[in-house]
């Protein structure tokens, strides 16, 4: 019996409204490592995939999680990806992903010289763990109760829709009705 609440590899992407060439993120992410901007995580390296169409863009590689300036779907955005060391409690794990993703978005919005902005009206949540969280309706139903309250808390009223083919890990589109800022969303968590 699969149980998505056992999975720790969660990903959350917020989309950029004003975007910039992915390569512009390379110096920013290097600076984040050098200056230990994410002070409670070990950040290690920057991987450049800006040459790949609709790819992972530029990735700030960490030990426990990665931060992508992601070009997936042809829609740039900030994707937070928990790899390990997550909380055994799924609710805490998801809340942490929201907090970290939103905080990173706010930081990027403030990066001088970047002019990058994100929307709090839409996000893409996924679990990269096909063993515990296959992309099917039963898993979606089982996980909704975990995800929805946190998404609501951060973004206001939301609708959740499962999407993508069965080969993917559980993938959920989050649409928020409100038009709050990233800062507000981050502050609510």
């Amino acid at each position: 019996m699969t149980n998505p609440n056992l999975a720790e590899r969660v990903q959350l992407k917020f989309y950029a409204t004003d975007h910039v060439p992915a390569m512009d993120l390379i110096p920013v992410f290097h600076k984040w490592i050098t200056d230990k901007v994410i002070d409670d995580e070990l950040m290690i390296d920057v991987a450049d995939y800006s040459h790949v169409d609709k790819g992972p863009g530029v990735v700030l590689i960490g030990h426990a999680s990665d931060y992508y300036y992601d070009l997936g779907e042809g829609r740039p955005g900030l994707k937070y990806s928990r790899k390990r060391g997550g909380n055994a409690d799924a609710t805490l794990n998801v809340a942490d992903a929201f907090k970290r993703a939103l905080t990173a978005c706010v930081r990027l919005q403030k990066e001088s010289g970047l002019s990058l902005a994100f929307s709090a009206q839409e996000a893409l949540f996924s679990i990269q763990d096909r063993l515990h969280a296959p992309n099917d309706d039963a898993t979606f139903d089982a996980f909704k109760a975990t995800l929805e309250p946190i998404a609501k808390k951060a973004l206001g009223d939301v609708t959740l829709t499962r999407e993508g083919d069965a080969r993917l890990g559980l993938t959920i589109r989050i649409r928020a009705q409100g038009a709050g800022s990233m800062e507000d969303a981050a502050a609510r968590l």
Binding site: T2, I26, H30, T34, S50, H51, V52, G55, D66, R167
Partner: protein, 747 residues
């Protein structure tokens, strides 16, 4: 609450022997975590499972202004000086590049879950996933095993992935389809006891014919080229080729080896290599050095003797009874090529190749720097299911090919590629640049080969339609160091990363290598025309290609052009851009492509890319070999004084490697290196050969005093080269003696 595990889930799907091997590996991980396994043993164990280390795994990262410790959660290590938690790389071995749709789906899933959603095609038809954690490897291996893939011997001192032309079986110039033979060799040697005790890795390649580039047998330890004689199938077998610091072309071991003799001959070669190949000094442990040392004729004799001693093995010929076992069956009827728009026509020109079977084509999907996403991987799997069947092959030019595409489907197929960002035209042209990982992830990387390749690609894409056809046809390859993983020696224009000091700062450079050729199985190696700063490489490409266009005679190939004008002309051409501007004038030269940090080689680690743990001293000795090789090239071109100077520099490099190996600090300049060498290796007699005593050391000391190389004529150059060769040999021997003595002392 515990959930399901991959081990349970896949227990029925995995072949039993693979499942068992993976359990053993997982057990070794547990033993290592419990402190019950030695670092070196565990390193070799994981390498043999294709789990490599990556840059920064020694727990240090240079941020451009200094070293910064990376404090990983545990102090545990997974090899000498290799932190347990540091991200590593998983190599997935795909014999002759073959991948099924199911395998492509699974590798894409693994990229999503354990890596960064990127699958990287290597120049040896493997897939690599980067930034993976060692503890995720057993589950990755299980999921691969369930689709028939083993990562066993993807690395380590054994037979590596057996490669073959991606056109095998569908090519109009091939003698016959080499696929079943490559498959038989793969199966036969996997885990075979005769290939477990090599001093270094052993690479085998197959080619269907002599003249095309696809198999690249020339630079393999063992190459087999299909030939039919008197209606009988067989192979021209070549041995002892290799790239790296000392590129060597493989030599003919057998003009015609009948098909039934192929496996026993290969086995005899492996046994000779295992028995007589160098084991101590890894820098000289590839089979090319053994062939050089004993001479080809003696090597042939040794192989023949070994062959005569082998007991018959039914597996040598069992596969011959069903050579069609590896055949692919098209799923759509063949038909003439569909028409499409202009973009399709352009793509078809370079990316579609007609098969020998009427109405079918091989489609090459150009992957930038060998990378594609997990999403694209799933699209490729879908395309294979819909149009071609299980006919995906990874290519040594870091692309993906799908065979058996009906001409009627080609346009629809192309449109799907375009929709998914894979419709780039120009396969096998100047924009299709091969690059090794370089400083991005490789511990041995000196310069940013991927950064460079990405930049060149971006610039060339803009102008590709305006380039003359002879320039568009050129191939570029970039390696981050002299280990040559991009196979740059066989490119028209190759680059290899080096570092230079300018005004007391390090500047990333690339050696420019011109005139190699991928034709005739990579039959010609290029020559070093000099080094230029990384940031000047695009200009160098522009200057070289313009010269070629302006001075080309008739249909002259680039290789012939370089032969005619000489490497010296290219060096002269590049001279104005060979020197980096002062830091104050242009600091951009002091960082590498796509990496804003001030350049350093402080991140260089102990390499695993070259197959195993390579101590830094061996890296230095290899650098000396490379310089000596360049000196020999200069000498052949009658450039006597530069040749002698280079040979002297090679000796200094070797001396420096040893001095630093003894933990003695020394600067890079020859005076200091030689002063330290005299004190610590000559006066102490540590360098002394048991028979020749101080003779070889004296070569260096005397040359340093006399500086006879500065205006050497041909004779002096010749002598200096000989002395340098002997000195470097002695340096290897000295290093070996020291390590042996330390090992004895430790015991």
């Amino acid at each position: 609450m515990t959930g399901p595990t991959w081990k349970d889930r896949l227990s029925d799907a995995m072949p039993e022997h693979l499942a068992r091997e993976i359990d053993v590996f997982e057990g070794q991980i547990e033993l290592k975590k419990a402190g019950k396994l030695d670092d070196k043993i565990f390193a070799e164990t994981r390498l043999r499972r294709g789990a490599y280390g990556q840059r920064y795994d020694n727990g240090m990262r240079n941020d451009g202004t200094g070293q910064q410790p990376l404090v990983f959660p545990t102090a545990l290590t997974k090899g000498p000086d290799t932190m347990w938690d540091a991200p590593g790389m998983q190599r997935i071995k795909n014999p002759f590049g073959k991948v099924t749709a199911e395998q492509m789906d699974v590798m894409s899933d693994l990229a999503d879950e354990y890596s960064d959603s990127i699958l990287h095609v290597t120049t040896r038809q493997d897939i690599q996933l980067h930034f993976v954690h060692i503890e995720d490897c057993p589950d990755m291996h299980r999921r691969l095993a369930a689709t028939g893939i083993t990562t066993r011997e993807a690395c380590g001192n054994s037979v590596r992935n057996v490669t073959a032309c991606e056109f095998s079986g569908v090519c109009s110039t091939e003698g016959f389809d080499v696929t079943p033979y490559a498959d038989a060799v793969t199966q036969y040697f996997l885990g075979h006891p005769d290939v477990q005790d090599f001093g270094r890795k052993f690479k085998i390649a197959f080619s269907g014919c002599h003249d095309e580039p696809c198999g690249a047998t020339t630079f393999h330890d063992l190459g087999a080229i299909a030939e039919v004689r008197d209606g009988k199938r067989g192979f021209r077998v070549v041995v002892g080729g290799g790239l790296g610091a000392v590129p060597v072309k493989a030599k003919v071991l057998s003009e015609f080896c009948e098909e039934r003799e192929l496996l026993p001959l290969a086995q005899a070669v492996c046994r000779v290599f295992a028995r007589l190949g160098e084991k101590q000094s890894r820098a000289r442990a590839r089979i090319k050095f053994l062939v050089q040392k004993v001479g080809l004729e003696e090597f042939k004799k040794l192989v023949a003797e070994e062959r005569s001693k082998l007991r018959d093995d039914p597996r040598w010929t069992a596969f011959l009874s069903d050579l069609s076992a590896t055949d692919e069956t098209p799923i759509r009827p063949g038909a003439p090529l569909a028409t499409g728009d202009a973009a399709f026509q352009k793509w078809a020109e370079t990316n579609l190749r007609p098969q020998s079977q009427d109405g079918y084509y091989v489609a090459t999907i150009k992957m930038p720097l060998g990378d594609f996403t997990s999403t694209q991987g799933r699209v490729l799997a879908d395309l294979a299911r819909e149009y071609t069947g299980d006919t995906i092959r990874l290519t040594i030019e870091q692309n993906v090919a799908l065979r058996w595409l009906s001409g009627a489907d080609a346009y629809a197929f192309y449109q799907r590629l375009v929709d998914n960002g894979m419709g780039d035209a120009g396969a096998r042209t100047i924009t299709d640049i091969a690059a090794c990982p370089g400083t991005d992830t490789c511990k041995l990387g000196i310069s940013a080969s991927r950064g460079l390749a990405g930049e060149l690609r971006k610039r060339l894409k803009v102008i590709e339609d305006d380039l003359p056809p002879e320039v568009r046809a050129l191939r570029i390859k970039a390696s981050g160091c002299f280990n040559s993983c991009s196979q740059h020696h066989a490119a028209d224009i190759g680059f290899l990363g080096v570092s230079r000091n300018v005004g007391g700062r390090k500047v990333p450079h690339f050696n420019v290598i011109v005139g190699g050729s991928f034709q005739k199985n990579a039959g010609e190696y290029g020559l070093v025309a000099g080094a230029v700063p990384s940031k000047a490489v695009p200009k160098a490409v522009e200057m070289i290609t313009q010269k070629y266009t302006a001075e080309r005679e008739g249909d002259e190939s680039f290789h012939d052009f370089i032969e005619r004008v000489g490497k010296g002309a290219i060096r002269k051409l590049l001279k104005p851009i060979a020197k980096a501007p002062a830091y104050e004038d242009d600091p951009s030269f002091y960082s590498d492509w796509r990496d804003p940090r001030e350049y350093t080689i402080g991140d260089l680690g102990i390499g695993e890319c070259a197959g195993e743990i390579v101590p830094f001293v061996e890296f230095g000795l290899q650098a000396a070999e490379q310089e000596l090789y360049e000196a020999q090239e200069l000498h052949e071109k009658k450039e006597s004084a530069p040749a002698a100077g280079k040979a002297f520099a090679a000796m200094v490099t070797a001396a420096k490697a040893l001095v630093r190996f003894l933990d003695v600090q020394c600067r890079d300049d020859a005076d200091d290196v030689i002063a330290q060498f005299r004190t610590h290796l000559f006066d102490t007699k540590v360098f002394f050969d048991p028979y020749a005593k101080g003779k070889f050391a004296n070569y260096l000391l005397k040359l340093h005093e006399s500086r006879s190389f500065t205006n050497a004529d041909d004779e002096i150059a010749h002598r200096t080269l000989d002395e340098a060769q002997l000195f470097i040999e002695a340096a290897h021997a000295c290093y070996q003696r020291i390590t042996e003595a330390s090992a004895d002392a430790a015991e």
